[in-house]
Subunit: 251 residues, 2 copies
DNA sequence: TGTACATCAGTGAACGCGCGTTCACTGATGTAC
DNA sequence: TGTACATCAGTGAACGCGCGTTCACTGATGTAC
């Protein structure tokens, strides 16, 4: 969970997606369209062969270009990967934000559940993009600064839910477990950055709930529940419901 | 979490590791040693370049063989990968079992915590082997039957702890959440296979605790807590302690 | 509005590389009599 | 114990493949006057 401040967020969000009508010349429009097409084809290749096997040449071939032409759009294979990673974070972030605002008038625990289910639904629909951002990192690839903003969108939604829930007394502080000074200071910084007035105990339970979301999705998608659980939908909802309840009740 | 019955377990466990003195001829001993050396080198290459980039030729070069010679030991690159996966499952399984038996005389929640910490310690010490088995799957690679036994070792330890805890009343059933018929039948089968007399509520909480172990390790190892949490050791222990308490107390 | 120049997308050949796998072979090690 | 034969590890050349990236180029699109 990367985190940036709200200001940085506003600056970063949406920068990765295209800006359809801002540029007017035919050349500019063609450039935007082809950039998108390259990314779309690359995304499909990701789904077929995984991120490590993503090949500029194969993508170029399918787009109908000669391989060197792709370099007019992305300076290297890694930059293309970065673009895909940013798009993936933005896509799941958007789903989470949409799920949150669609349930704006409901209780905080119900909204939390909706957001978690939106994340899972996106993951199931885009397994390789999910693996790209939440699975094992691509070997030899270091995520650049530009990914931090998009990567923060989901955590941001969750932290705002915690903040709202604490403010409205829908989330109770509960017992504060013993914790070291370093952890308390980490939580204090998190509070300052993104979750005003949310007590340590709630932040801790919030992170636990979030780790359970990703843990469950990983177990499910990477086959570790094979032959154990058969109705994944129901199982996920069951687990998330309980995690939610624990989050808001603190016990 | 794959699962096999206890009988299959006994049959599978240890089959992947070497059998030092069972074979006597110089040729056989050399074969065992070289097989191990190839795997050791391959493991190191895994750590350097990731599983997708694991190259038979590179491994052969470092072992000091010509590339085709490796085919005397592994019929293909995928079989070598399978061997590494089995070894990884066996390694983490062994650590979990050792942690469990080392704390045999303690309370069930303490033992659970020890097992979780052993899994994390192994993951931190062998990040790429961890990614190999609990990260995103290797594209184009389908795990064969032979991995199921070793993959079951850790879940097996945890399920036995649940069974013990329920038997000794250290784990209380707690409230049983509403769940669908399919889920109840999945739990019933799990109970039959591996966790006699453990009620649905406890199985459900147990799976939640396990998903939290993997969720936390993923968040930590794959960089999603970067700049948020600084003392990962303390954070993991804090989260696991709370997960444990919830597991045994059921609320 | 028309022209001269600048910008830029896309081409095609080339560089140098590493990969998995097959195959016929040599020579050392093991086995049966 | 010695010999004839079978087994098997390792060699080296070859097959056919795909990769990322560079480079000088052509021709179309855009811009300034």
């Amino acid at each position: 969970m990367f985190l940036v401040t709200a200001l940085e967020m506003r600056h970063n969000v949406g920068m990765a997606t295209t800006v359809p009508n801002a540029s007017r010349t035919a050349r500019d429009r063609a450039r935007v369209e082809l950039t998108d097409e390259i990314k779309a084809v690359a995304r499909r290749h990701l789904a077929d062969h995984g991120s490590a096997a993503l090949s500029l040449r194969a993508v170029a071939r399918e787009v109908g270009m000669v391989s060197s032409a792709v370099y007019r759009y992305f300076p290297s294979r890694d930059e293309l990967l970065t673009a895909l990673i940013i798009d993936a974070y933005d896509a799941v972030g958007e789903r989470a934000e949409a799920a949150d605002s669609a349930s704006r008038d409901r209780a905080v625990d119900a909204r939390w559940l909706k957001v978690c289910e939106a994340v899972r639904a996106w993951a199931l629909a885009n397994p390789h993009e999910y693996a790209l951002i939440y699975g094992s990192p691509v070997p030899g690839y270091a995520a650049p600064q530009a990914t931090i903003g998009p990567a923060s969108r989901v955590p941001w939604v969750l932290l705002r839910l915690l903040t709202d829930g604490v403010a409205s007394d829908e989330i109770v502080a509960g017992e504060t477990p013993a914790m070291s000074r370093t952890i308390r200071s980490d939580f204090a910084q998190l509070r300052r950055t993104a979750a005003p007035a949310v007590p340590d105990a709630v932040l801790s339970r919030g992170l636990a709930a979030w780790s359970q979301v990703l843990g469950n999705i990983n177990l499910e998608m990477f086959g570790h529940l094979h032959n154990v659980i058969h109705d994944y939908d129901a199982f996920f909802t069951l687990q998330m419901r309980r995690a939610c309840e624990f989050l808001v009740r603190g016990a």
